[in-house]
């Protein structure tokens, strides 16, 4: 029943056992255990294909915090299935590849696979979650796990930098997205995406509609490395190559695409959504392909090409969303919505050829020791299989037949040509720019694909520049890219199988109204006549070859953009400034003197609380309702006051601690008087334990020297003490007479029926507010470990042995 929820959790559960397996069975590469997870999940998810292709969806709901409407709801439709199959399918291949790529002698594989499984589970959670909050949780978990994976070789400075950069950018976007989600749920009154989609028509005029949309887009753009947030992706290439192949081409960066697709039924058809998504997409497409050409590192080149391809998919989704502007019955709408179909098709194609290409680059790096194209060349005869794979991958990326990239590229051109026919959102003026920019970007794409293949595999072999003697990769390392490359070819020859079983259901999930109206019908053809699209492709090839030939003569164009003015340096500069400023501010108030901190805290309390109470008029003391004070109570109050006043005059630490203890015990007596035995008990024990703790600590401290302070400071201290005392007393008195809210005790009166407990205090602690208690326990544990670590660290510094040594 909870199969889907379990599918998300299985990677996490397996991850728990990985460190043990890694340590207990050092003879076996840990990757073999991990491989079982994505492979099994892939088979499981593939078994859903017929169901989903039949137009059904699967939903399983696990209550989490039902009182807040937050439930762990897993929802499977065409769109989540397509992503989930990529995550588990490419995941299996990547794990298989990593077994040969990462040496079990040199690398700490335990960590690596825990992070990878964590990422896999988080990613599945993102695509399956129907609840916005759960989606956000998994979304950030992908950021965190990718941070850990990028920083896997943490001893390298660049790895740490790249990890920090990707984390800062994607998490910032994620927080924006959270705000967007909250706005969306405020508008619609639900956290469930299905319900939001079902009722969206009513909210398009809401004031929060556009802000929520933009914030959600911010999350999607940062995650999918769209311009101008793309700067993190090239630096993320510091991760091991299997990670780059997996996270930065096939899955994590697709999360933003997924999000945009998922929310197209919500926001699509709106002018803002159309313009923002398609323009950001097309700019990213152009800028990515333009910058890719200047790269000398193969992985950096692929990183920019990924950015550009993601831009392509994004722009297609933006264009496709315009279809929602029309009525379903309108013929045009189906015609325009084809862009969404093309986007999904390219999404799958990109994962296959880019995954293969990353693995190819990994092989080149692994077998020659460098990824610098200035040092590489002539590897064709030495690594024939890798060469073939590279050709298949890059020609598919360049959009040539007989590879799947050709098909989606043609559909991309078709969709962009249709933009020129649109006549709303004032697109008439700018529509023509879309196909032009796209065509230029495609030429540039073709050029960098040629660079990738020719500079690496043709030309002269220069063994003196390589760190290792080049040779073909071992078979195991080739299996995964061979499978991906076969898919590249297979999808070209049999695109309609993919189209019917995978793409159409996914299209249906993005454009639900169209499927309901049953107006969508599409088949993919490799040969579609001598039309504009084909001419454009021929033009791409022709101009591409010319540009590649003339590359040295127009490379000066990149010198126009000086490194100092790039977005990267803006990022670095603002980060540095932030660090420097915050350090200087922090140094000003963090003096390391406990006295200062106390003064800050107390003055803040006096100022803030007095202001708030005065503002709300809460200082109203009314003693008429108060119970009379009995003799015992009055007596104890006097004793307490005397004790408290004598603490400052205590001659030694011991006296001070004991007086403090007396105060605590007397307070416990009050609890007894007022019939709060639980509190009294706790107070007594706490007082005992903390007094003995104090004694233990202070027993060994040097003699107490009274601090000599200037009279001015002394006056300040007295003032602060008096002010705090007066304030707290006034608050205590006015709280009695101000009932701003109803008493909450009524809520707990039926504790016995609800929790079966007669002791209401424990019913609250263990049942009604068990979440608080649970987290308090965790806080306590952290505090305890903190003390332990601090003391052990200190003794370590002092040259003493740490425990166990």
């Amino acid at each position: 029943m909870y199969t889907l929820n379990l599918a998300i959790l299985i990677p996490f559960i397996v991850a728990l056992f990985i460190p043990y397996l890694y340590r207990r069975l050092p003879g076996v590469h840990t990757g073999w255990f991990v491989l079982v997870v994505p492979a099994a999940l892939f088979v499981l998810l593939a078994s859903y294909i017929p169901t989903v292709a039949g137009g059904e969806t699967v939903l399983s709901e696990l209550p989490w915090i039902p009182s807040l409407g937050i439930n762990f709801t897993a929802y499977l439709d065409g769109l989540s299935l397509i992503l989930a199959l990529l995550i588990t399918g490419v995941g299996s291949l990547v794990v298989l590849y990593s077994i040969y790529y990462l040496s079990k002698e040199r690398e700490s594989l335990g960590h690596f696979y825990v992070y990878l499984l964590m990422f896999m589970g988080a990613m599945l959670g993102v695509v399956f979650s129907d609840n916005l909050m759960v989606l956000y949780l998994f979304w950030e978990l992908t950021s965190i796990s990718s941070f850990l994976l990028i920083a896997y070789w943490y001893h390298r400075r660049q790895s740490r930098y790249g990890a920090q950069k990707s984390m800062l950018i994607t998490v910032t976007g994620g927080i924006g997205m959270l705000a967007g989600f909250i706005m969306l749920s405020r508008m619609t009154g639900t956290f469930s995406i299905r319900e939001i989609v079902a009722n969206i028509g009513q909210y398009t005029d809401h004031t929060l509609f556009v802000p929520a949309m933009l914030l959600i887009l911010l999350g999607a753009f940062t995650k999918s490395a769209q311009f101008p947030f793309h700067i993190w992706l090239p630096d993320a290439m510091e991760a091991p190559t299997p990670v780059s192949a997996y996270l930065h081409s096939a899955t994590m960066v697709k999360a933003g695409i997924y999000l945009v697709a998922r929310f197209t039924p919500v926001f699509g058809g709106d002018a803002v959504w159309f313009w923002v998504v398609s323009i950001v997409g097309i700019v990213t497409l152009f800028w990515g392909s333009f910058t890719a050409i200047r790269q000398t590192d193969l992985k950096a080149l692929l990183a920019y090409s990924t950015i550009s391809q993601l831009g392509l998919i994004m722009s297609l989704l933006g264009i496709g969303s315009a279809a929602l502007y029309f009525d379903v019955a309108d013929e045009n709408s189906v015609y325009f919505s084809l862009a969404v179909f093309a986007a999904l098709f390219h999404l799958v194609n990109h994962s296959t050829f880019k995954g293969a290409l990353f693995m190819v680059v990994g092989i080149v790096d692994h077998e020659t020791g460098t990824r610098d194209i200035r040092k590489l060349g002539g590897l064709m005869t030495i690594m024939p299989i890798t060469f073939t794979l590279a050709v298949i991958g890059s020609f598919s990326m360049a959009g040539l037949p007989p590879f799947n990239g050709f098909l989606s590229k043609e559909m991309f051109f078709t969709s962009l040509l249709r933009v020129t026919e649109l006549s709303f959102f004032s697109i008439e003026t700018w529509g023509l720019l879309f196909p032009i920019i796209a065509w230029i970007a495609s030429v540039l794409t073709f050029v960098y694909c040629l660079i990738l293949v020719f500079k690496t595999f043709f030309g002269k072999y220069q063994p003196e520049k390589l760190e290792k003697e080049a040779h073909e990769a071992p078979m195991g390392m080739l299996i995964s890219p061979v499978i991906l490359a076969s898919l590249v070819v297979a999808f070209f020859f049999f695109p309609n199988i993919l189209g019917e079983y995978i793409l159409e259901p996914a299209y249906g999930a993005v454009m639900p109204t169209f499927v309901e109206a049953n107006v969508f019908e599409h088949s993919i053809y490799a040969w579609h006549g001598f039309n504009t699209e084909l001419m454009m492709t021929l033009g791409v090839v022709g101009f591409g070859i010319v540009l590649y030939r003339l590359l040295p003569s127009w490379k000066w164009i990149y010198a126009i953009f000086p490194a100092k003015l790039s977005l990267d340096s803006l990022y670095n500069h603002s980060l540095l400034t932030l660090e420097r400023k915050s350090t200087s501010i922090t140094n000003r108030y963090m003096t390391g003197n406990m006295y200062h901190y106390m003064v800050y805290i107390l003055i803040t309390i006096i100022a803030v609380v007095t202001a708030v109470f005065a503002y709300t008029g809460a200082f109203a003391i009314d003693t008429s309702n108060d119970a009379p004070i009995s003799i015992y109570e009055g007596f104890i109050a006097v004793v307490m006051a005397v004790t408290a006043l004598s603490i400052p005059f205590a001659k030694s630490r011991l006296t001070g601690i004991l007086l403090n203890g007396v105060l605590g015990y007397l307070l416990a007596l009050f609890f007894v008087f007022f019939r709060a035995p639980d509190l009294a008990l706790t107070q007594l024990v706490i007082e005992t334990v903390s007094a003995s703790l104090f004694l233990l600590c202070f027993y060994f401290l040097p003699e107490w020297e009274k601090e000599k302070r200037r009279p001015k400071v002394k006056m300040l201290n007295v003032f602060i003490a008096l002010a705090v005392g007066t304030l707290v007393t006034t608050i205590a008195l006015s709280v009695q007479s101000n009932r701003l809210f109803d008493s909450i005790s009524a809520f707990y009166e039926n504790a016995y029926e609800l929790a079966g407990a007669q002791n209401i205090v424990n019913a609250i602690l263990g049942d009604f507010r068990a979440f608080d208690t649970m987290l308090e326990v965790v806080v306590l544990l952290i505090a305890g470990l903190g003390v332990y670590v601090l003391i052990k660290l200190k003794s370590n510094k002092g040259g003493r042995d740490v425990e166990g040594e």
């Binding site: 024990v685 068990a770 470990l785």
Partner: protein, 140 residues
């Protein structure tokens, strides 16, 4: 701390058992009467503190070879775990339940899942308090 504490040590030997018993009682009584995991744990911890004060930490360690850091971690795990366990039965996170069992001599007694949760709290309290005190006293 090395000092001649014969009286303290003798009294402690007896008192510790009384305190421990009382701590367990408080822990179990929590559902219906004053007590519960937190107080129970604190009382149990204070028994260990008393031992530490009257004997030195090595003696205590030999008498009770418990890793209190592990105890605290186990407690936190237990609390979170009972919360998670609830979800396995299809009810919200941290839901507690209660069954009434009939035993031969004792008659009908209630068994509440909250006991497990409270046990986690108690373990975490004992573990943390004793860890702190042990670290401070060993540091000297």
């Amino acid at each position: 701390m090395k000092a001649n504490d014969v009286i303290l040590q003798t009294v402690s030997k007896v008192a510790v058992f009384i305190i421990l018993t009382y701590g367990v009682h408080l822990f179990l009584a929590g559902h219906y009467e004053p007590g519960g995991g937190f107080v129970g744990g604190l009382v149990l911890a204070s028994a260990f503190v008393l031992l530490l004060l009257s004997f030195d930490s090595d003696t205590v360690k030999r008498g009770m070879p418990i890793d209190f850091k592990m105890l605290a971690a186990t407690g936190a795990f237990l609390s979170v775990g009972t919360g998670l366990a609830a979800t396995a039965f299809g009810v919200p996170f941290l839901s507690q339940t209660e069954v009434h069992a009939t035993l031969p001599i004792l008659g009908e007694i209630p068994l509440a899942s909250v006991v497990l949760f409270e046990a986690g709290v108690a373990f975490a309290v004992i573990g943390t308090v004793v860890t702190i005190i042990l670290s401070i006293s060993e540091d000297v």
